[in-house]
Symmetry: C2
Subunit: 197 residues, 2 copies
């Protein structure tokens, strides 16, 4: 496997994946769907991270004829029975409005005692190849929410999430520090042996 396509138009994500896979010793070129014409948008209609990642990877593999990787990730809050979960990027009702999503989450938890603010970031990555094989790997980052935003790195809910074992939010960690413990970093490293094989 010399090339794979990431099911995202976010070139930063492709660069990040190239870096992490390269650090793991894989000689591979990571393309994004932005490098291809006519790859259809896939609606995230699955009921789970796994289902959504597979939906996207299958569609991109079919459209490009290359091995395809897709991720789906989000924050799962104990007090909300694991939500926002797959709806993390659209929790306040519009896709990708990080500030509205984060503020809504804080507002919903206003009456919740601090000791019940446990949460986990989860990332599921699906790998689908033209021969029809499908693999799913997963990474988690457990921690807890705080009510005051801290830090400006990362994105999404990072400014209000403190990983277990840390006193800073994940938005106060460097990219390298976060890669080492993050849900996405763990899932990407779990992917390495599947791509290398």
């Amino acid at each position: 496997m010399r090339q794979l396509v990431l099911a995202s138009r976010n070139v930063k994500k492709a660069v990040e994946m190239q870096r992490i896979l390269g650090e793991a010793g894989l000689d591979i070129q990571v393309l994004s769907v932005a490098d291809f014409d006519g790859v259809p948008e896939v609606a995230e209609t699955g009921a789970t991270f796994e289902a959504n990642a597979l939906l996207k990877a299958r569609a991109v593999c079919a459209a490009t004829g290359l091995p395809a990787v897709a991720d789906d990730s989000g924050i799962c809050v104990d007090e909300l029975n694991g939500m926002p979960g797959i709806l993390s990027a659209r929790w306040a009702g519009r896709h990708g409005d990080d500030d509205a999503n984060l503020q809504l989450l804080l507002d919903q938890l206003a009456d919740t005692p601090d000791e019940r603010l446990g949460a986990q970031f989860r990332c599921v990555i699906a790998l689908v190849t033209p021969d029809g094989s499908e693999h799913v790997v997963e990474g988690e980052m457990p921690g807890r929410l705080v009510r005051e935003r801290q830090g400006s790195n990362g994105f999404g809910y990072d400014p209000i999430f403190v990983p277990d074992g840390f006193t800073q939010t994940s938005a106060e960690l460097s990219a390298a520090e976060k890669d080492a413990i993050s849900h996405r970093g763990k899932a990407l490293r779990a992917l390495v042996p599947l791509i290398g094989s």
Copy 2:
């Protein structure tokens, strides 16, 4: 037991309870906390309907010296792992903004296929008496959500909820029709033998 106090400032709720308990043959006077001075507001910090109902009933029983009844209720959406649940009245972040709560729920479910719009209304009622006895009863109304508001009766999420066995929303049912099938009606009828005994 000749008097009981409903842990709510909503006189309509006390009248409704008086009516349903009266129809069941109980000769009882239902007071509300509005009939007393100095009953403290209780923050709904419980993690479940049961916990919140008990918190409120205990506080009102302690403050009035009379048997106290409290309810906690909400809508539990399958696709949201049972949320909004205890946060139903504050889902969009402010207590009691029915329109914002309902619109947020619809927006969150915009990408969810219709066949996954199952939901249940749940109502839990706690009865706490001065001798320290505590009882909890529950009622459910299963159904599904629709994306277009229909009807103007009821409140909260009624305009987008179709009970199982019906084609109308619960906001299109009369009060009597709704009492007969609703989560609150079922819970209140389950309360009758506990009060009568």
